[in-house]
Protein backbone atom coordinates (compact mmCIF):
# COMPACT_ATOMS: atom_id res chain seq x y z
CA UNK A 1 0.00 0.00 0.00
CA UNK A 2 3.09 2.25 -0.19
CA UNK A 3 2.08 4.09 -3.34
CA UNK A 4 -1.57 4.34 -2.32
CA UNK A 5 -0.40 6.14 0.84
CA UNK A 6 2.07 8.18 -1.19
CA UNK A 7 -0.57 9.39 -3.65
CA UNK A 8 -2.88 10.30 -0.77
CA UNK A 9 -0.19 12.79 0.34
CA UNK A 10 -0.32 14.26 -3.21
CA UNK A 11 -4.06 15.03 -3.15
CA UNK A 12 -4.61 18.70 -4.03
CA UNK A 13 -1.33 18.94 -5.95
CA UNK A 14 -0.94 19.67 -9.66
CA UNK A 15 0.18 16.48 -11.47
CA UNK A 16 0.54 15.27 -15.06
CA UNK A 17 -0.71 11.74 -15.73
CA UNK A 18 0.71 10.12 -18.85
CA UNK A 19 -1.24 7.13 -20.16
CA UNK A 20 0.05 4.13 -22.09
CA UNK A 21 -1.65 5.50 -25.21
CA UNK A 22 0.58 8.63 -24.90
CA UNK A 23 -2.33 10.86 -23.82
CA UNK A 24 -0.97 13.22 -21.14
CA UNK A 25 -3.41 15.00 -18.83
CA UNK A 26 -2.52 17.74 -16.39
CA UNK A 27 -4.82 18.48 -13.48
CA UNK A 28 -5.29 18.66 -9.74
CA UNK A 29 -5.22 15.25 -8.03
CA UNK A 30 -8.62 14.89 -6.42
CA UNK A 31 -8.52 11.30 -5.18
CA UNK A 32 -6.80 7.94 -5.49
CA UNK A 33 -7.85 4.41 -4.48
CA UNK A 34 -6.08 1.13 -3.74
CA UNK A 35 -5.87 0.21 -7.45
CA UNK A 36 -4.18 3.59 -8.02
CA UNK A 37 -7.20 4.73 -10.04
CA UNK A 38 -6.87 8.50 -10.19
CA UNK A 39 -9.39 11.31 -10.25
CA UNK A 40 -8.29 14.67 -11.66
CA UNK A 41 -10.13 18.00 -11.74
CA UNK A 42 -9.69 21.13 -13.89
CA UNK A 43 -7.80 19.11 -16.46
CA UNK A 44 -6.14 20.09 -19.67
CA UNK A 45 -4.65 17.74 -22.23
CA UNK A 46 -1.01 18.36 -23.18
CA UNK A 47 -1.58 17.91 -26.95
CA UNK A 48 -5.28 18.89 -27.44
CA UNK A 49 -5.27 18.84 -31.27
CA UNK A 50 -4.61 15.10 -31.25
CA UNK A 51 -7.42 14.40 -28.78
CA UNK A 52 -10.53 16.39 -29.83
CA UNK A 53 -12.78 14.16 -27.69
CA UNK A 54 -11.07 15.47 -24.53
CA UNK A 55 -11.86 19.15 -25.17
CA UNK A 56 -15.20 19.14 -23.33
CA UNK A 57 -13.94 17.21 -20.28
CA UNK A 58 -13.33 19.14 -17.05
CA UNK A 59 -12.96 16.35 -14.49
CA UNK A 60 -12.00 12.74 -15.13
CA UNK A 61 -11.46 9.31 -13.60
CA UNK A 62 -8.44 7.41 -14.94
CA UNK A 63 -8.19 3.66 -14.46
CA UNK A 64 -4.91 2.85 -12.68
CA UNK A 65 -3.99 0.05 -15.08
CA UNK A 66 -3.67 2.41 -18.08
CA UNK A 67 -1.23 4.81 -16.39
CA UNK A 68 2.38 4.87 -17.57
CA UNK A 69 3.75 7.79 -15.53
CA UNK A 70 2.63 10.43 -13.08
CA UNK A 71 4.81 13.55 -13.12
CA UNK A 72 4.98 15.19 -9.72
CA UNK A 73 6.26 18.43 -8.30
CA UNK A 74 9.55 17.59 -6.51
CA UNK A 75 8.98 20.19 -3.80
CA UNK A 76 5.95 18.16 -2.60
CA UNK A 77 7.92 14.91 -2.19
CA UNK A 78 9.96 14.14 0.95
CA UNK A 79 12.46 11.74 -0.63
CA UNK A 80 14.11 10.66 2.63
CA UNK A 81 10.74 9.75 4.12
CA UNK A 82 9.81 7.92 0.92
CA UNK A 83 13.01 5.84 0.94
CA UNK A 84 12.44 4.85 4.58
CA UNK A 85 8.87 3.89 3.76
CA UNK A 86 10.11 1.78 0.82
CA UNK A 87 12.56 -0.09 3.08
CA UNK A 88 9.84 -0.74 5.64
CA UNK A 89 7.44 -1.92 2.92
CA UNK A 90 10.13 -4.30 1.55
CA UNK A 91 10.65 -5.77 5.02
CA UNK A 92 6.96 -6.26 5.74
CA UNK A 93 6.32 -7.78 2.29
CA UNK A 94 9.16 -10.25 2.84
CA UNK A 95 7.84 -11.23 6.28
CA UNK A 96 4.37 -11.74 4.84
CA UNK A 97 5.78 -14.02 2.14
CA UNK A 98 7.82 -16.03 4.65
CA UNK A 99 4.76 -16.53 6.85
CA UNK A 100 2.87 -18.10 3.93
CA UNK A 101 3.59 -21.69 2.85
CA UNK A 102 5.67 -21.59 -0.33
CA UNK A 103 3.53 -23.18 -3.02
CA UNK A 104 6.34 -23.33 -5.58
CA UNK A 105 8.50 -25.52 -3.34
CA UNK A 106 5.70 -27.76 -2.06
Amino acid sequence: MLFYSFFKTQVGQQVTVELKNDLAIQGVLESVDQFLNIKLRDIHVVDPERYPHMLSIKNCFIRGSVVRYVQLSPSTVDTALLQDAARREAQSTQQMNQAKPNVAQA
Binding site: Y4, L19, D33, H53, S56, I57, F61, I62, S65
Partner: protein, 136 residues
Protein backbone atom coordinates in the same frame (compact mmCIF):
# COMPACT_ATOMS: atom_id res chain seq x y z
CA UNK B 1 -8.22 -12.24 2.25
CA UNK B 2 -10.35 -9.34 3.36
CA UNK B 3 -9.92 -5.66 2.69
CA UNK B 4 -10.94 -2.94 5.05
CA UNK B 5 -13.94 -1.19 3.49
CA UNK B 6 -12.18 2.19 3.40
CA UNK B 7 -9.85 0.90 0.64
CA UNK B 8 -12.72 0.54 -1.83
CA UNK B 9 -12.88 4.16 -2.78
CA UNK B 10 -13.58 3.61 -6.51
CA UNK B 11 -17.21 3.74 -5.42
CA UNK B 12 -16.68 7.03 -3.67
CA UNK B 13 -14.88 8.58 -6.63
CA UNK B 14 -17.51 7.68 -9.27
CA UNK B 15 -20.60 8.50 -7.24
CA UNK B 16 -20.45 12.17 -8.34
CA UNK B 17 -20.78 11.10 -11.99
CA UNK B 18 -23.95 9.02 -11.50
CA UNK B 19 -26.87 10.08 -13.73
CA UNK B 20 -24.64 12.54 -15.56
CA UNK B 21 -23.56 12.59 -19.19
CA UNK B 22 -20.07 11.12 -19.41
CA UNK B 23 -17.49 10.10 -21.98
CA UNK B 24 -15.80 6.71 -21.63
CA UNK B 25 -12.57 6.09 -23.48
CA UNK B 26 -12.03 2.37 -24.12
CA UNK B 27 -8.77 0.47 -24.54
CA UNK B 28 -9.47 -0.25 -28.22
CA UNK B 29 -9.73 3.51 -28.83
CA UNK B 30 -13.52 3.76 -28.97
CA UNK B 31 -15.31 6.68 -27.34
CA UNK B 32 -18.72 6.06 -25.79
CA UNK B 33 -20.97 8.88 -24.59
CA UNK B 34 -23.93 8.19 -22.33
CA UNK B 35 -25.57 8.62 -18.95
CA UNK B 36 -23.81 6.71 -16.16
CA UNK B 37 -26.41 4.60 -14.36
CA UNK B 38 -24.31 2.06 -12.40
CA UNK B 39 -20.75 0.93 -11.66
CA UNK B 40 -18.74 -1.17 -9.19
CA UNK B 41 -15.24 -1.32 -7.67
CA UNK B 42 -13.71 -2.75 -10.89
CA UNK B 43 -15.05 0.24 -12.84
CA UNK B 44 -17.53 -2.03 -14.65
CA UNK B 45 -20.01 0.52 -16.00
CA UNK B 46 -23.62 0.69 -17.20
CA UNK B 47 -24.46 3.55 -19.59
CA UNK B 48 -27.91 4.49 -20.85
CA UNK B 49 -28.81 6.30 -24.10
CA UNK B 50 -25.26 5.74 -25.28
CA UNK B 51 -23.61 6.80 -28.52
CA UNK B 52 -20.36 5.64 -30.02
CA UNK B 53 -18.63 8.73 -31.39
CA UNK B 54 -15.97 8.30 -34.06
CA UNK B 55 -13.51 11.15 -34.51
CA UNK B 56 -11.40 11.67 -37.60
CA UNK B 57 -9.35 14.89 -37.39
CA UNK B 58 -11.89 17.77 -36.87
CA UNK B 59 -14.96 15.71 -37.84
CA UNK B 60 -17.05 13.13 -36.01
CA UNK B 61 -19.97 10.78 -36.53
CA UNK B 62 -22.30 9.00 -34.10
CA UNK B 63 -23.70 5.47 -33.86
CA UNK B 64 -26.55 4.84 -31.39
CA UNK B 65 -25.68 2.06 -28.94
CA UNK B 66 -28.58 2.14 -26.42
CA UNK B 67 -27.76 0.54 -23.06
CA UNK B 68 -24.05 -0.26 -22.89
CA UNK B 69 -22.37 -2.44 -20.24
CA UNK B 70 -18.59 -2.05 -20.13
CA UNK B 71 -16.23 -4.47 -18.43
CA UNK B 72 -13.91 -2.43 -16.19
CA UNK B 73 -10.60 -3.70 -17.58
CA UNK B 74 -11.44 -2.07 -20.92
CA UNK B 75 -11.92 1.39 -19.43
CA UNK B 76 -9.11 3.89 -19.96
CA UNK B 77 -10.80 7.01 -18.72
CA UNK B 78 -14.17 8.33 -17.71
CA UNK B 79 -14.79 12.06 -18.12
CA UNK B 80 -17.60 14.36 -17.08
CA UNK B 81 -18.81 16.32 -20.11
CA UNK B 82 -19.23 20.07 -19.79
CA UNK B 83 -22.25 20.54 -22.09
CA UNK B 84 -21.63 24.28 -22.62
CA UNK B 85 -18.09 23.66 -23.85
CA UNK B 86 -19.23 20.70 -25.94
CA UNK B 87 -21.76 22.79 -27.90
CA UNK B 88 -19.12 25.41 -28.78
CA UNK B 89 -16.44 23.02 -30.07
CA UNK B 90 -15.01 23.66 -33.56
CA UNK B 91 -15.90 20.14 -34.74
CA UNK B 92 -18.25 19.24 -37.57
CA UNK B 93 -20.66 16.32 -37.58
CA UNK B 94 -20.71 14.19 -40.73
CA UNK B 95 -22.99 11.31 -41.81
CA UNK B 96 -21.77 8.08 -40.24
CA UNK B 97 -21.03 6.44 -43.62
CA UNK B 98 -18.59 9.25 -44.48
CA UNK B 99 -16.88 9.04 -41.10
CA UNK B 100 -16.53 5.25 -41.29
CA UNK B 101 -14.89 5.58 -44.70
CA UNK B 102 -12.47 8.24 -43.39
CA UNK B 103 -11.73 6.10 -40.35
CA UNK B 104 -10.95 3.08 -42.53
CA UNK B 105 -8.50 5.09 -44.66
CA UNK B 106 -6.79 6.47 -41.56
CA UNK B 107 -6.49 3.00 -40.01
CA UNK B 108 -4.98 1.48 -43.16
CA UNK B 109 -2.38 4.23 -43.36
CA UNK B 110 -1.50 3.77 -39.69
CA UNK B 111 -1.23 -0.01 -40.02
CA UNK B 112 1.13 0.33 -42.98
CA UNK B 113 3.43 2.76 -41.14
CA UNK B 114 3.31 0.78 -37.88
CA UNK B 115 4.46 -2.34 -39.69
CA UNK B 116 7.57 -0.56 -40.94
CA UNK B 117 8.20 1.00 -37.51
CA UNK B 118 7.90 -2.25 -35.59
CA UNK B 119 10.25 -4.09 -37.94
CA UNK B 120 12.97 -1.54 -37.28
CA UNK B 121 12.34 -1.31 -33.51
CA UNK B 122 12.37 -5.08 -33.17
CA UNK B 123 15.86 -5.18 -34.70
CA UNK B 124 16.96 -2.73 -31.98
CA UNK B 125 15.77 -5.09 -29.25
CA UNK B 126 12.62 -3.24 -28.27
CA UNK B 127 9.44 -4.98 -27.28
CA UNK B 128 6.61 -4.32 -29.71
CA UNK B 129 3.93 -6.46 -28.08
CA UNK B 130 1.91 -3.43 -26.95
CA UNK B 131 1.11 -2.81 -30.58
CA UNK B 132 -1.38 -5.63 -31.00
CA UNK B 133 -3.20 -5.49 -27.70
CA UNK B 134 -3.26 -1.80 -26.85
CA UNK B 135 -4.21 0.23 -29.87
CA UNK B 136 -6.19 2.80 -27.90
Amino acid sequence: MSFAPQFFTTAESLVDSLDKKILVLLRDGRKILGVLRSYDQFANLVLQDSLERIYVRDAYGDIERGVFIIRGENVVLLGEIDCDVEDALPLRQLPIQDILEMQREEAEEKARKDKLRFQLLHKQGFSVDFADSDLY
